[in-house]
Symmetry: C2
Subunit: 415 residues, 2 copies
């Protein structure tokens, strides 16, 4: 019956392709690799229990993964239980690597992440305003990638390259439609970066808030939770919606722009051209302005504001209270839309969480339907500012995890 439910989720609607026998192999290899990637090393017998497959099947499957150098097996550490010890299968971290890139407003980051989600090397550099142009960005990324690659195991394979960008990203062609904070507009960023890097592995580009959500659902506070609302706020406010454990991308990948939901018809004009967007009430600018600071103050001003709040300065506390109210209003609406079981606040909103949490909860209780909000918890991000970077790595792993051997064939031949 569990097989039935798998099938159900699997080959759901619309005319899909027929399933061949080989698909079974590929799917089972994928399941095992996913298990190891997300939950760490596991003994063969654990794998048997979790997948419902037989010992022989697991043996053959793990063997194949070992042969492909995706998995290594070690003798079990004897844990005191009776019976023959089961060898532990672990992902081969150092030789199966993705490159993650985060193009943020005022910084650039590159990381090499090994299978299993281990960060092997990471670099983040602040960058001045004049290095924000597309060409300069690509040059800087290439230089950082070269440095990071130099430190990697010489025998390692680059499985994929994931890139997060502060802006609207078209997932169908990896282009950046618009990135107001960078001044980019209709840039074929994925293709250009791929070319500049010498096209070794596929470059996949996505919105950084979406990636932060992905990271948080895969490895952060929301690990294992199937319906999650992730709210990422810095200068702008974005979000990632996760339903049934899968990110909602929308038709072209633009879904999750929750910062531009109209919440206040009499509100301020938004840089998107509309009026009263949620972002104009809960973004960094609004918070700073309400506390009497310049909305352009940036990170330093936020730090000062939070320090004031800790010290009990009324203007800071008031600004945070107003922020909390609008935050709660917007989240309540999204809870009604999505019925998540967890709301995660990331970026700046993760930092203000301790100051606003009570009032946000109160506002949710006032405005979200009792049924929809039952059991919802609002928590701060666990991964902090590196969430988009970690999400980019996961994005790049996705292909390998879906079809391990098939992907590997392509990766190996492409070098």
């Amino acid at each position: 019956m569990s097989a039935v439910s798998t099938t159900r989720a699997a080959f759901s609607s619309t005319p899909s392709t027929g399933v061949r026998s080989e698909t079974v192999r590929s799917a089972n290899l994928a399941i095992i690799l996913r298990e190891l990637h997300f939950h760490g090393p596991a003994s063969r017998s654990e794998l048997v229990a979790r997948t419902g497959l037989t010992r022989s099947a697991i043996g053959a499957l793990v063997g194949e993964l070992v042969k492909a150098d995706l998995v290594s097996e070690q003798r079990a550490a004897s844990d005191g239980s009776p019976g023959r010890p089961s060898p532990v299968a672990a992902p081969v971290v150092e030789r199966n690597v993705t490159l993650a890139v985060d193009v943020a407003v005022d910084s650039l980051a590159v990381a090499a992440v090994g299978l299993g989600g281990v960060v092997l090397h990471a670099e983040r550099v602040d960058r001045p305003r004049e290095r924000v142009a597309v060409d300069a960005t690509i040059d800087d990324i290439v230089a950082m990638v070269r440095r990071v690659e130099a430190a990697l195991d010489p025998g390692c394979r680059i499985i994929g390259i994931g890139v997060g960008v502060v802006g609207l990203v078209n997932r169908t062609d990896n282009s950046v439609s618009i990135a107001p904070n960078l001044g980019w507009h209709d840039v074929a960023f994925g293709a250009r970066l791929q070319h500049a890097l010498g096209s070794r592995a596929d470059v996949l580009v996505s919105n950084d808030a979406d990636l932060a959500a992905l990271a948080e659902v895969r490895r952060g506070v929301a690990a294992g939770i199937r319906d999650v609302l992730y709210v990422w706020g810095e200068v702008g406010v974005g979000g990632g919606l996760v339903s049934r454990g899968e990110p909602i991308t929308g038709a072209a990948g633009f879904a999750g722009e929750i910062g531009h939901v109209p919440v206040n018809p009499d509100g301020r004009p938004c840089r998107c051209g509309s009026v009263g967007c949620w972002e104009t009430e809960v973004g960094e600018g609004a918070l700073l302005e309400r506390s009497g600071r310049s909305p352009e103050g940036g990170r330093d001003a936020v730090d000062a504001l939070l320090a004031d709040a800790d010290a009990g300065v009324p203007s800071a506390l008031d600004a945070l209270a107003v922020q909390a109210r609008w935050l709660g209003i917007g989240i309540a609406g999204l809870i009604n839309v999505m019925n998540p079981s967890m709301v995660v606040l990331g970026g700046l909103l993760g930092r203000v969480h301790p100051y606003v949490s009570d009032q946000v909860t109160a506002e949710i209780e006032r405005r979200a339907l009792e049924s929809s909000r039952r059991g919802v918890v609002v928590v701060p991000s666990a991964l902090g500012g590196d969430a988009p970077l970690m999400g980019a790595a996961e994005l790049a792993f996705e292909r390998l995890l879906a079809d391990p051997l098939g992907t590997l064939r392509k990766v190996s031949t492409s070098r």
Copy 2:
């Protein structure tokens, strides 16, 4: 390679169960039955082309479905093309039936729908306010079901029973959490109806707006479209969100309550306890009130209002213009959240579509991000008031379509 993408969508995230050989059979049977259910009769060679399976596989699979009396094969009508004609496989409509029930505010409907989506019998009765209680509703449904069943083919199987209710429905236990318009609160409606019907087939309960969305995506204007925002408005406003062809249900099935997104913090109180919900601006009551009518006027008042609009009466046109503006504001926000490729207006909102369409589009252009709204069309529902009923039938078919033979075994033995 298409096999890869299937796999990807299929066994995607989180530790799923291992896949056995039999899963393949079950999945392929499901694919063929889905194809016939949604796209109507198809020749064997068409099935070969669409699934990518071989002639022998299709032959065996169709044969098995024929043996199970789910599919019948007829000699092809010779269409003038050379070559041996391919027999046409068609769903066996009359012998594989679901019962669909719609519990609306002022009416009750029951239908028998055959495989392929053919309505075999349908009944809808208006009902007075005093028959709204749970027990009376169940009695009425049972009586209607008996009448409908009497007209069915004696050899037919009841695959499942789908029920749509105007209210918040917990999908995990088929209970109605709250249905303000019916005065229901925490009713184990699914279980009680199942018991009253003598528990022949499984009863599945869902929100009527969600079901309307399902129907519209399966067989209505949105057929084949993968990302759809369905907005259902009558007295209240609900919605169905469809992402990648699958309805978004949320953690407990409450997702889609888009009527309670806060859009106007200074607005009127909503019956949900909040203030300025979208529903208070675009629901039937608001429309009627703005035109100078009683908000309780119901269907007759709406008819009169639309007649006035046709005649060019200013108060009616003004009321519709305000309605259009708020409609556009809300839809724009949801477009930013979901990035759908189609927006469908159902119920009352489907009726007002011709009057508000231009202004809604204008408001969307003003408020939704250019990328997110690119290519979005706003269309009225194709199925009208029967959409929830049709959706209920589809809900009941879902299990059969996911695992044809397995479901049939349970259904047959349960009689």
